[in-house]
Symmetry: C2
Subunit: 342 residues, 2 copies
């Protein structure tokens, strides 16, 4: 029977990567002790060969959202800040941008006009700055930007604005035989440019949104070219689809922070056997950012309201199956929602 | 400077999986000693930390075509034989198929009419037998079929019609720190159903053609549903695209057998550093099948005619780069095409 451990945890601490992990405590930066205890209990349960919840190493797959879950997403998605800087860098080659939105808004620093350009404007920015190159060229551009760009508030490289507790979690899971994946609404090629250096996650373990690529032989050299055409949006209901496409089996643990991760968490935690789902709640405005229901970025509303209900639904369904009842039929009495952690 | 070792090898021996690999000889079934020597020399070169061709383990990625490269593809693609058997199994639910092509042709065993239905007919067969289920349901169907279906000539399960030399090669590469991937024109979900059991290749290391999937919550249970709509064709110029999508870096070795693998071989062997490309030539009609230029399945024509020329092109390009010449400019004299293996 499935054990769904879905929690909303208070979240904290913004420190650079690289701290060694103490043998005695795999998660030293976690000050939320209930959440930490559940993580450790879950990992022990799935790695104990004698236990009923044992999961063989090949099936120990954990998926992580990136923006707001592994690194910060405030005051705007870092990839958008990259696109804005690229528009400025490419401006000399595009005199027409001076008088065309959304580019004009970028030059004038007019975030209101930029926001008003909507999804269409955003897409124009992305295509103008992300397409028309090879994957190698694009990754080199991203790396060059990361080497010099600084976060407006913290004045540090974006790759240092990663969450220390989550780095510890990644390392702890890998040391416990898990394969760790990023499943990002952001661009797959953008994340691949630095995920191995920053998180220890290689390019083949990054799932993300993508533009199409085309194979061609240019001047005798075979190459791939990135096209100004959307291939896949890895967000919301797209996340389970993207995970299945890349991994081909359902992960047993998922970590997110916004409603864009709802379906991923729902799908992962509803699978058979031991499961773990975690939603990071950004509640520390002082050391990081405080946001949830009303944020324009990383909104967390459904997760707060429906997390427990979704969990109830799945458990009812399993109870129905165990009793041979048809799907959808209400149970009397309903199963207990709360359950002690393993 | 790149060393491209591209060879067309005489190919052999059809035996079941599972033979242990002798420590002294990693490729005991290979009777083509020149090819075997080049493989071993390549593997030694990229794994020698002191050598100029050393490749760190993370970049040791090898890609294998499946049909005709890892298992047989004669007298027809095994996945087509699966679709035909499924049409027969599903017939009672589809009385309309008795009078509609291409289904009528299947019931009447009329391979000529089936062939005449062309790509459109083939697609109808695939959609009718592959879509409308969850990935778990589809994989269970494939496994059930493999457990009972027998090859028309060899009267053995299809999963035993794998090439022993290639199983040895997969094991040898993995023992040398390579990650091995399948890159198939066949369906990704079809191959994932058995690739780990037969080749030791897990689902996340299978790249293939796919139909779209959709995420939905059915009767309270989150699930993925396979749709009757093409998502991606992983063949010819699609292979480099599929590899990039899944892996995100260029493999250093590729193994194929037909012109469907041409672009994959071309792209992989044109990368910088030590590279290895191999084309299996099916020339043993007695023990397996003999076919190449004129085969309706697994045609090998461009590979035989242009392999050496493509190799020349890339080497010219590199020489051009080394001399600071523009792409496309002919070199005088051209570089030697032949080169001793490393």
């Amino acid at each position: 029977m499935t054990r769904i451990v879905r929690l909303v945890i208070a979240f904290a601490v913004l420190i650079a990567a690289g701290t060694a992990i103490a043998q005695s405590d795999p998660l030293p930066s976690w000050n939320e002790h209930a959440a930490k205890g559940r993580i450790v209990a879950f990992v022990r349960a799935v790695t104990d060969p004698a236990g009923k919840d044992y999961v063989p190493p090949g099936d120990r797959i954990a998926v992580f959202d990136n923006d707001g879950a592994l690194w910060s997403e405030q005051p705007a998605y870092f990839q958008l800040l990259f696109a804005i800087d690229r528009v400025k860098a490419l401006a000399p080659k595009h005199p027409e941008w001076k008088t065309t939105q959304p580019f004009k808004a970028v030059f004038e620093g007019d975030m209101k006009a930029l926001a008003a350009s909507g999804e269409k404007g955003l897409l124009q920015l992305i295509m103008a700055t992300h397409a028309g190159n090879t994957p190698e060229e694009f990754q080199a551009t991203v790396k060059g930007w990361l080497a010099t760009a600084r976060h407006p508030r913290f004045k540090r490289p974006y790759t240092e604005l990663v969450y220390q507790p989550m780095l510890e979690l990644l390392a702890y899971l890998r040391a416990s035989g898990f394969k760790t994946y990023i499943v990002s609404g952001g661009g797959i090629e953008f994340v691949r440019a630095w995920s191995e250096a920053v998180y220890g996650i290689p390019p083949e373990q990054v799932v993300g949104s993508s533009i199409k690529t085309k194979y061609e032989v240019r001047g005798g050299m075979p190459t791939l070219v990135r096209l100004a055409e959307i291939d896949f949006i890895d967000d919301k209901a797209g996340k389970p689809v993207g995970i299945h496409r890349h991994i081909g089996r359902r992960p047993i643990a998922a970590f997110g922070n916004s409603d864009g991760d709802f379906q991923m968490l729902e799908w992962v935690t509803a699978g058979p056997g031991a499961r773990f789902g975690l939603i990071l709640h950004h509640d520390d405005a002082e050391r990081e950012y405080g946001y949830d229901r009303k944020s324009h970025i990383g909104r967390l509303e459904r997760g707060l309201d429906e997390g427990a209900a979704a969990r109830l639904d799945h458990r009812q369904h399993e109870t129905r199956l165990a009793h041979g009842l048809p799907a959808g039929q209400p149970l009397t009495p309903p199963p207990r929602v709360e359950r002690p952690s393993s």
